[in-house]
Symmetry: C2
Subunit: 258 residues, 2 copies
């Protein structure tokens, strides 16, 4: 059986340390090819580039890390790699290791998660992996747990349309309690805009905020990570609110019309 | 009772015709304030601006169209308007009228829809409105149906966390059959990348593609619009794949750990 082909991407950019750790770890399982943004693309969500040309550039770092730097978003990287460059689609896509967690509401803004969602839209099993720290992150545990899930998914399969979103607490490996199946939590940033005036007297704002955690439900992503568990949330891309759909059947405007 | 405050946004930019038609129509119901991107921001998905300053500029067009041009994404416009500029939150947010439909998979890439999703994240009822044409669109029908739903939502309320995504067929008003409650369809763009070489012999790509429609289920957004119905889909922002969540409970890695 040929070695699986693993597409590696991220949103921190192709020169970030996290993607190097991830590629090195999954290279133990299969052949790797990197398609990652030329520069940092954090918080770009599921943006794609349709009004500008997308440039690519072959690139190699040390120890077999090679692929393409893409002048676009994480979703662009996945689309372009799969649809324009590779002759055969990859067996799996991994996105990360992201500097900082992607949990709760914040997964909506995440380029890391969107790359994985884009992968499953294209029919390829995909995993997003993040470490819960912006300071002195330890990428090794995250890279290893991602590789473990790559093996599991390649061996056992996963529902078509399901991406995995994995978040790893930034503690020593022996302090991690285990791996917990979780749901997207309700944590979010309560935004604060910092208003400033530039030397030409024009107003501008910096977006800032403080994280409001979920209520204390151990099955939610951020609560699990806070309790030193690795959180694994299956995500899909169907945004229909089925509960509201059923409630809205009674709305007069729909009853009268049909 | 004071007139409701309606925040108007879009992703085609504050100078686009669609947002003007929308503002004029909803101004019949309440006071309006516009927060919209300075320039076109199509396909930016749920991107937010965290690594750059966000500039804003007061702007008025004719007939009471006034507000702020924002140097950011549609989600930035909503966050900044609600959190930094307005003293009291708006009663409702409308986003559009978008030039081109936002249905099926493509809602994931949509700045128009993300502005509405951002609204409900902030706890404000929100509606995205699009017309299914890129050529010679008729914005008037779309603006009117959006205003109709603004009234319905303000009078009857809607579940917290539910945004409405409305798509209008681009046909004469008397050819529209009615308003149908729908689910997000499975239509998507089968991408084609057009490879080119610039005068300096560097490679670049244009993302292009052709639309693959949903299977023929009348409750799906694109099928309804194709049959000349206005499609109304309730959307939420919880991406947890509950079916996979239940299936994955049996995965050895979770059983052994807990």
């Amino acid at each position: 059986m040929p070695k699986p082909l693993i597409l590696v991407t991220n949103d921190d950019g192709i020169y970030s340390p996290g993607i190097y750790f991830l590629q090195q770890e999954v290279a133990k399982i299969g052949r790797t090819i990197v398609f990652a943004p030329e520069s940092e693309k954090s918080a770009v969500g599921h943006a794609i580039t349709i009004s500008d040309p997308i440039r690519i550039r072959k690139l190699s770092r040390r120890n077999g890390f090679s692929g393409y730097a893409v002048g676009g978003t994480p979703a662009d990287c996945v689309k372009l790699g799969v649809k324009a460059i590779l002759d055969i689609p990859p067996d799996i896509i991994v996105s990360g290791v992201n500097l900082g967690s992607n949990m709760g509401m914040n997964i909506l803004y995440s380029g890391t998660v969107s790359a994985a969602t884009e992968g499953v839209i294209l029919g390829i099993p995909s995993i997003a992996i993040s470490v819960d720290s912006h300071k002195e992150p330890d990428y090794t545990v995250a890279a290893k747990i991602c590789a473990k899930f790559v093996k599991i998914v390649l061996e056992n399969g996963i529902s078509k349309g399901t991406a995995l979103n994995i978040n790893v607490p930034n503690v020593k490996e022996d302090e991690i309690k285990g791996v917990r199946l979780t749901r997207q939590g309700h944590s979010y940033y309560e935004e604060d805009f910092d208003r400033r005036v530039d030397p030409r007297e024009r107003i501008y704002y910096w977006m800032d905020g403080r994280l409001i955690p979920s209520e204390n439900d151990p099955e939610l992503d951020d609560i699990a990570v806070q309790e030193n568990w690795i959180s694994v949330t299956p995500l899909h891309y169907n945004l229909t609110d089925l509960q509201s759909f059923n409630e809205m059947r009674n709305w007069e405007i729909f009853i009268n019309e049909e």
